[in-house]
């Protein structure tokens, strides 16, 4: 029962072609840049990626898309100040997009982790994004049925981990990371610091270790925003 791994390279080495991969972060905040770059080096192709956005610049998720490793993106907002990589591939028809309202995306992921195969939400009722989905009336109001979302792998970023995989997060870098950890068969967390067992107060654990398979320390993680301001390119 020791979930520590020595490197991001080792951590992503088991991700096969065609896998569905949830990648944490909202924009660059909470994005596991080093794990994504390791996945680029690893080279798995034909991936379906779940993320709120579509990456920016030429690092992180944008770089993964740029390398042609992503066949499909499930996200809520694939538009950004520098999301040209996705835009170009989308226009060229070389990447599929499943657009999901942000709260529905979060709830579908949480449902995947919580064993709820379907739920009803008022969100998107009467819009194009509800087309083809079952609807039902409850207490006089109409709702859309949405399905759970699960993945083979989650690549997430956390602040501290203990050897059992208990995690904390730094400020708004929390975002999608805890729910993606719940919804994936194998969850890999890059963390700024691995502390000893007991180093995290049980009341302050945000993601209990049961949702985490591997933790790997990246002591000085890169921030997408900073990389993009420096016009960084990966690889």
């Amino acid at each position: 029962m020791d979930k520590r791994l020595a490197s991001v390279t080792e951590a992503v080495s088991g991700i096969p072609d065609g896998a569905t991969v949830m990648i944490g972060g909202f924009g660059g905040s909470g994005a596991p840049i080093e794990l994504i770059h390791a996945l680029i080096d690893h080279g798995a192709k034909g991936l379906t990626v779940v993320n709120n956005n579509a990456g920016n610049g030429h690092v992180g998720l944008a770089a993964l898309i740029e390398q042609g490793q992503v066949d499909k993106l499930i996200c809520s907002f694939p538009r950004g100040p520098s999301s040209e990589v996705f835009t170009e591939r989308y226009r060229a028809g070389t990447i599929l997009l499943e657009l999901v309202p942000q709260g529905t995306l979060a709830e579908r992921i949480r449902a995947g982790g919580a064993g709820i195969p379907a739920f009803y939400t008022p969100t998107s009722y009467g819009t194009d994004l509800a087309k083809g989905k079952p609807v039902a009336e409850f207490d006089g109001r109409m709702y859309v049925q949405e399905r759970w979302l699960k993945a083979d792998f989650a690549l997430i970023k956390a602040e501290a981990a203990d050897p059992h995989g208990n995690l904390t997060y730094r400020m708004t870098a929390r975002n999608f990371n805890p729910i993606m950890a719940m919804a994936s068969k194998t969850t890999i967390a890059q963390v700024t610091e691995i502390v000893d067992l007991g180093g995290i107060d049980p009341e302050q654990v945000i993601t209990p270790g049961i949702f985490v398979d591997h933790v790997v320390e990246v002591a000085t993680p890169q921030q997408e925003e900073v990389l993009n301001r420096a016009e960084a390119v990966y690889p």
């Binding site: 999901v100 942000q102 709260g103 009467g126 819009t127 400020m171 929390r174 805890p178 997408e224 925003e225």
Partner: protein, 227 residues
């Protein structure tokens, strides 16, 4: 007809007007972009608490340039600050707040608003990259959904219409529209004019509105400070 392009309210003035309707202690979500300005114009003595979809409640203003912490951002992915009373949570909890009707007000931008309260604000229906974000959750979540918008498009076409021509964000969800010329409520499938710039007539306003403007009782003057 008056030249409405010259006398219209600035975006800041529209935001100022919307801020006057936010009560003390209200939980408020402000759409990305121009609606974000509402936070600057809270009346003296009132304190609203602002929610950001990415998982932050009660955040403070932007930090000074160069002092950004990119782990502390808002839904527009701009750097913000935490302050005493802030709370951080994950995305599913954040949208539980939204969908569960815990927000008192959501204030959003619009491409079009219909007299039914239908809102179109996420897709121009053209071949751009479709992107929806949290708008569809907000319009069915907040107890009150208000829109801030220019009264007409850049080309002069009405944005308040009988029926939206663009893809909908939500059905029958908007109850008040703050425009560059007027404050209009949506009540029982009708636009009801509440306030207008004193410089323009009801007739002027009707001419740039794509559906019938009703008024019940007096129409108040819409007067905003220079901003």
């Amino acid at each position: 007809m008056t030249n409405i392009a010259r006398i219209k309210l600035s975006n800041a003035q529209i935001a100022w007007r919307a801020a006057q309707d936010i009560t003390d202690g209200a939980y408020v979500n402000l759409g990305i972009g121009f609606p974000e300005m509402v936070a600057q114009f809270q009346p003296e003595g009132r304190q609203a608490i602002f929610h950001s979809e990415n998982g932050l409640l009660d955040f403070g203003p932007a930090p000074a340039a160069g002092e950004e912490d990119w782990d502390c951002i808002n839904a527009g992915k701009k750097a913000v600050t935490i302050r005493p009373g802030s709370a951080i949570f994950h995305h599913a909890d954040s949208f539980a707040m939204v969908r569960g009707r815990h927000l008192d007000v959501a204030i959003l931008g619009a491409y079009e608003v219909a007299q039914s309260g239908d809102l179109a604000n996420w897709s121009t229906g053209k071949d751009g990259i479709p992107a929806v974000g949290g708008a569809m959750d907000l319009v069915h979540g907040a107890k009150r959904v208000a829109v801030l918008t220019d009264h007409v498009t850049r080309k002069g076409a009405p944005k308040l219409v009988e029926r939206c021509s663009l893809p909908l964000t939500g059905v029958g969800c908007v109850t008040r529209v703050y425009t560059s010329l007027a404050v209009v409520d949506i009540d029982a499938g009708r636009f009801v004019l509440r306030e207008k710039l004193p410089e323009i007539s009801v007739q002027d306003l009707q001419a740039v509105t794509g559906a019938q403007l009703y008024h019940e009782g007096p129409v108040a003057d819409l007067i905003a400070p220079a901003l």
